[in-house]
Symmetry: C2
Subunit: 437 residues, 2 copies
């Protein structure tokens, strides 16, 4: 088993190209010049690339080698506990240094920036998975890393913050007084718990205003999804049999895309008949209850307009939602593919997700991060359907990270303190009234 | 690469047998009957076995398979950062469900107990590595698990506690009012922060008094060390070249023994010339500054007398010591082998250990637990000696766990808050006056 030597770009294999991002003022497609203050040219090129394969640079492979190839494991003990005839495989990305799939794109992003002379990368982080992956990647290429971490997480997840410090990054609680947008948020509410939207604005503002600085994003964009395809390419190579069903959780979409795209290539070419299923939280259901429309990627409206499934850029999930995947929008590329009917989408509530996480830990050992418990809840439900029908379905799922930094949420679940509720339709409709244009 | 099918018992290969444990009253060697209230017969048999190889049961292999074989990685990025001609390999045990090598013995201990009809296993845990490994193992064999966790850790490491809960274990802060010894400790000091000694007494007391209950220990004993030899057997198989030097940290000794014993077998048979080096904290230096004498394994004096390198069973490291490996004694088997001259021992101070941990994280990605940073500090020092001498030494080290639950200590190190000091000789001498008999 070896690490793939190329990333796979699914765009040229699609029956129709995805709609381009638009400039919010002119409503014209954005060009490379619009993105140059934020991203290095190599990544801008990958974002719009028409090549099916992009070679992975040797310098990136040398870092991937620290944890790749990742394990592909048959969940025999879970199968036995469920009494299912289904065969369940999981691809485990939690072996990466910061514990999730995010390192697969953090490393090339840090590398291309370093290669183009960038000395500082800025980013935002919510729970801290992306921030710690980028901090690790920057430590490998001697790039300074500054991270705006949502204040509520900064206070509640000190260990994620410590992990970024160990990798040498600077972590600011957001909103901070270091930026205009942070200062404004603090003026509005000195006790603001922060939000991803504010943190993005702060990181973007500093990157745009600092010489030799750029900004890095951990999901949503085409080049990010492409970097994640190492997951699916490895799984294709490792699986002893072809999957009937591939299941992954979706927040911005990079984890699901990373596992699914190489299998979708095989399906688009008529070589396999696999079904694909995205799982999102009932508390933040952009595929299943959002609209497909042009919207901003951030709350403050600083980004280009992206055509995507969105709950409205002002939508924020209820604070009772503990399970990650809190993004209001969705990868434009995946949104386009969903419209093309290339995969299904379902939702799961947080208590059934944590129940699946505990069940998985007690059979397979690994405590999953809250995000992949969504995929596990769906996988278990499917395996139990197979138990009823007797079908020997082959299921492949993405276990994109471990839950060592999320045990507070497990604690609350085990103490019976997590709530499920159905998101009221009027909250979605309210947020959708604020769509641009 | 496959998982070994046998554990290796080094005892029959030694030039002389280790001295037996003695009954503290009679000073006669303890027999199986003395141990039966605490351990299942299969483990008592392994403790005194004269067989060189003990087959690993299929049921244990089926669980080992969740994370074994573990990776053997060449630390190329660390080598490059150090500019050393040495070649550094590390065997990484942090991929186990609870994140350390402890699962290698927790699984067979839970298995043999379950097989002999035991329904409850009790144990103590300090930092939580052992407790969480046993909780995981018990979840695999439907054995109830009750853990007495030192109060100070219970309060300061809530995530370790949560991890045990996820695996279904019950965790008591020790001292607890559930036992006689706990109640006595609480009567003496209602605000007692607890100690490993008290926690052992509580776990032993409950195991001895409860039908179908037994006690489990995570290091020190012969059968525990033997279970860990899967580490070294795999490494022997995985290494592309023979090591000149094997380095491991020692607290109770099971991690060092697990990696070193299979290589020592090869050396005792004259097939290799490897040098072995144990590394202990300057704050708890049992090999290098203790005496070789019969002493109790616990603070309260409930265990048989063990001949070992000890600082005295009343010795407690300074509270400023953050780096794990706090046991006053040492494995009797390793102590005997040290007297036979089969390996070297050195000490490292905690600031140089955490410095090595950060250096390792920023080059190899993994944040090590505080315990293996002792071995990493020694490995780095050796590699820098090679840089001066030009020697292309092959170094193998044991990276026995990750530091995801120890980031508080890294925080304090990065903030400059860790202290080093030399342990005063009179503190050791004072503790040694309390040796039994």
């Amino acid at each position: 088993m070896v690490i793939p030597s190329n990333w796979y770009n699914i765009v040229p294999d699609l029956p129709a190209p995805p709609p381009p991002p638009l400039h919010p003022g002119t409503r014209e497609p954005v060009g490379p010049g619009d993105l140059a203050p934020l991203f290095p040219m190599e990544l801008i090129g990958q974002e719009v690339s028409g090549e099916r394969y992009v070679p992975i640079p040797q310098e990136v492979l040398d870092v991937y080698r620290l944890w790749r190839p990742t394990p592909l494991i048959r969940a025999r003990r879970l199968e036995r506990a469920l009494g299912t005839p289904a065969r369940i495989y999981y691809k485990y990305e939690g072996v990466s240094p910061a514990g999730s799939h995010k390192a697969n794109t953090a490393v090339p992003q840090a590398y291309y920036n370093a290669k183009e002379g960038v000395r500082l990368l800025t980013t935002e982080t919510g729970a801290g998975q992306w921030g710690s992956a980028l901090a690790f990647a920057c430590s490998q290429f001697d790039v300074e890393c500054q991270i705006w971490m949502v204040r509520a997480s900064y206070d509640q997840k000190p260990y994620r913050r410590s992990l970024m410090h160990v990798y040498g990054a600077t972590v600011h609680a957001s909103p901070s007084s270091l930026t205009g947008s942070g200062s404004k948020a603090l003026a509005d509410d000195p006790a603001s718990p922060g939000s991803l939207g504010i943190a993005i604005s702060e990181a973007v503002e500093v990157a745009a205003a600092t010489p030799d600085a750029r900004y890095a994003l951990g999901s949503v964009l085409n080049h990010v999804l492409m970097h994640q395809t190492v997951i699916g390419e490895e799984a294709l190579d490792q699986l002893p049999e072809l999957p009937d069903l591939v299941i992954g959780c979706t927040g911005g979409g990079s984890n699901f895309a990373g596992l699914a795209f190489p299998f979708m290539r095989e399906k688009l070419a008529g070589r396999i008949k696999t079904v694909f299923r995205a799982v999102e939280p009932a508390a933040c259901p952009s595929f299943t209850r959002g609209v497909y429309a042009y919207d901003f990627g951030d709350t403050a409206g600083l980004t280009p307009l992206l055509k995507m499934h969105t709950l409205g850029h002002t939508f924020v999930p209820d604070p009772i939602h503990a399970g990650g995947l809190r993004y209001h929008g969705m990868s434009p590329l995946l949104s386009h593919m969903y419209e093309l009917g290339l995969f299904e989408a379902v939702t799961r509530s947080q208590n059934e997700c944590f129940e699946a996480g505990v069940r998985f830990a007690r059979t397979e050992g690994i405590v999953p991060a809250p995000e992949p418990t969504h995929a596990l809840a769906e996988t278990i439900a499917e395996a139990l359907r197979c138990k009823e029908s007797g079908e020997e379905k082959v299921i492949l799922t993405a276990l994109c990270g471990h839950g060592h930094f999320d045990l507070g949420a497990y604690d609350r679940y085990l103490a019976g303190g997590l709530e499920d509720h159905t998101l009221p339709q009027d909250r979605i409709e309210q947020a959708l009234t604020e769509l641009p244009g």
